[in-house]
Amino acid sequence: MSELVPEPRPKPAVPMKPVSINSNLLGYIGIDTIIEQMRKKTMKTGFDFNIMVVGQSGLGKSTLVNTLFKSQVSRKASSWNREEKIPKTVEIKAIGHVIEEGGVKMKLTVIDTPGFGDQINNENCWEPIEKYINEQYEKFLKEEVNIARKKRIPDTRVHCCLYFISPTGHSLRPLDLEFMKHLSKVVNIIPVIAKADTMTLEEKSEFKQRVRKELEVNGIEFYPQKEFDEDLEDKTENDKIRQESMPFAVVGSDKEYQVNGKRVLGRKTPWGIIEVENLNHCEFALLRDFVIRTHLQDLKEVTHNIHYETYRAKRLNDNGGLPPVSVDTEESHESNP
């Protein structure tokens, strides 16, 4: 019986099982310089990072993003003019900046979602967001299947979604659960408790426990997802974060005050100054270190290797092909007949 292969594939010469030559290197070869070579190359090309913030208005999303990246990335609403502030529908606003630190250039895009959860009837208000995320995957997929591809495909996919939870002290709202249930499968969600300075330490830890429990009961896998832990080291590190620190209770501020002779970012109240970067006051520093200093690359990789691949597989399986979708996202979209 002949093999049913559409075209004959030349069989490569099968390499032998890899022989491990380890300890008997008679001298220095220089293989470890590849790390330096790689580092130089990546510094030259620069990085893209796209972060989305979702939450009801007034929870401090823009302030937090500005605090995270220590610059005026988002423009806050300075005037609270009711008519112009709350949009009738959920809008997606993506603003890109280039920031540089230590020779590393990063193209940071912050995607804001004004109007989320602000209507009286909030049914399906996560749909525009889900649509936007899928559109970015679609764009990337299109570039990837081109015959003549660009050397570096521009990456607009959402790497990280910060979901802001209202500090009610009770539990998660149905809207929160619905949103996270739908979107935890397509994007990395990091739940964040906003305006954490309204809770005392006991209230904070109780609230966090309840939130964690509720997320678990509802089967919501937030980042870092358990199933993507690669080895034991990752697992123990991530377990610690998942079970103790998350969701991070944060406070944001872009104003500086003098405390103990140092200038710190904080919020001034009649009863004291809340220092944003003080771990005793709030967990902003933990969030910043987690997102930026240790897991930035991992966020991008999980997005690329897992969420994007899932999208791609689903897309290519549906009817074995992709229907024509216009690239320009400002036009209305044709649906697949």
């Binding site: 490569p12 390499p15 070869i29 220089g30 790390i35 990246f69 900046h97 630190e101 050397k151 009817n319």
Partner: protein, 432 residues
């Protein structure tokens, strides 16, 4: 719900200044750490005549003895032999694959010598492309077998390139990064070497062979790459044996007239090759293979398969339509083959059935025959039995008759006397 997307175009991206330390400068480290834990792949192809020193050079470059037997000169054709090794230095794990061309340059007719090499390189690209086109794929832990560097070993004739070399390099230059080297450089004197090198380079240029260009776009490596490029092709000597020089042991070849030291830059260019190949440009070689050679292969292959990009005005995604068409074609073929198979199966079953029926019939016939024979035998036996019985009966009769006769005779004798007696006594005794 209509969604309005506001997005600043790329040109308007503002440079923002940071008012404090954010911390994303650790990003290259994060990236590198991930790669280190996965390990790196590096694949070298060595093209050159048998006995020119390919295996020795690899041993010298990587400071180990890769087990391999030297090839004979009797190979009927060129074949490629690939061997993989795992090397580790500090925390870097390297999966090194060395591909050797066995029998290159040994045949009388070398017309097709380059073909197995080109096929092998294409096969690796094809494997990667197939993985990339899969629906469910795992590119991030794919073991990359594509050739990253091709060391072309030039024989140290001292004159010029052989025509085999030119033809082979021309076929390979668009598929792989070629680094030409002069092997066994200790057979050429220094002044001849210089002339030889320039002759080779000018021949390569005049024949349009694109060899690998060491990258000069980044400041840190531009200088060293530029200075090294001048010495191309590198004249190398390989040796794994050590000779005592001064008070140190160094890799060298010992001759009656002196010692050629491998790592002495005055003696040969081995150190330069090692610098360029491993310590400076390994990552660039890998990148060029992926972004240039592989993309070119992919483009050609997809175009050949019938796909084309359309301009943005017409309906995009003829790729997917053609893909769909191909898929349907493939499925149709599959169905046809399935039908064929089914029919063949049915036919075979019928044949077998007929055969079995035949056999059954034969068996029946045999059985009938046997039965008949058996009956015949039985009848014969019965006949014989009957005969025998008849005989016995006859015999018994005869015996009885004889006995009777005898007794009669006796009786008659007795009777005679008795008769005589009786005659006097009983008148009613009748004689028999």
């Amino acid at each position: 719900m209509a969604v309005a997307v506001g997005r600043q175009s790329n040109e308007e991206l503002r440079n923002l200044s940071l008012s404090g330390h954010v911390g994303f400068d650790s990003l290259p480290d994060q990236l590198v750490n991930k790669s280190t834990s996965q390990g790196f792949c590096f694949n070298i192809l060595c093209v050159g005549e048998t006995g020119i020193g390919k295996s020795t050079l690899m041993d010298t470059l990587f400071n180990t003895k890769f087990e391999s037997d030297p090839a004979t000169h009797n190979e009927p054709g060129v074949r490629l032999k690939a061997r993989s090794y795992e090397l580790q230095e500090s925390n870097v794990r390297l999966k090194l694959t060395i591909v050797d061309t066995v029998g290159f340059g040994d045949q009388i007719n070398k017309d097709d010598s380059y073909k197995p090499i080109v096929e092998y390189i294409d096969a690796q690209f094809e494997a990667y492309l197939q993985e990339e086109l899969k629906i469910k794929r795992s590119l991030f832990n794919y073991h990359d077998t594509r050739i990253h560097a091709c060391l072309y070993f030039i024989a140290p004739t001292g004159h010029s390139l052989k025509s085999l070399d030119l033809v082979t390099m021309k076929k390979l230059d668009s598929k792989v990064n070629i680094i030409p080297i002069i092997a066994k450089a200790d057979t050429i004197a220094k002044n001849e070497l210089h002339k030889f090198k320039s002759k080779i380079m000018s021949e390569l240029v005049s024949n349009g062979v694109q060899i690998y260009q060491f990258p000069t776009d980044e400041e840190t490596v531009a200088e060293i790459n530029a200075t090294m490029s001048v010495h191309l092709p590198f004249a190398v000597v390989g040796s794994t044996e050590e000779v005592k020089i001064g008070n140190k042991m160094a890799k060298a070849r010992q001759y009656p007239w002196g010692v050629v030291q491998v790592e002495n830059e005055n003696h040969c260019d081995f150190v330069k090759l090692r610098e360029m190949l491993i310590r400076v440009n390994m990552e660039d070689l890998r990148e060029q293979t992926h972004t240039r050679h592989y993309e070119l292969y992919r483009r050609c292959k997809l175009e050949e398969m019938g796909f084309k990009d359309t301009d943005p005005d017409s309906k995009p995604f003829s790729l997917q339509e053609t893909y769909e068409a191909k898929r349907n074609e493939f499925l149709g073929e599959l169905q046809k083959k399935e039908e064929e198979m089914r029919q063949m199966f049915v036919m075979r079953v019928k044949e077998k059935e007929a055969e079995l029926k035949e056999a059954e019939k034969e068996l029946h016939e045999k059985f009938d025959l046997l039965k008949r024979t058996h009956q015949e035998e039985k009848k014969k036996v019965e006949d014989k039995k009957k005969e025998l019985e008849d005989e016995v009966n006859n015999f018994q009769k005869k015996k009885a008759a004889a006995q009777l006769l005898q007794s009669q005779a006796q009786q008659s004798g007795a009777q005679q006397t008795k008769k005589d007696k009786d005659k006097k006594n009983s008148p009613w005794l009748c004689t028999e």
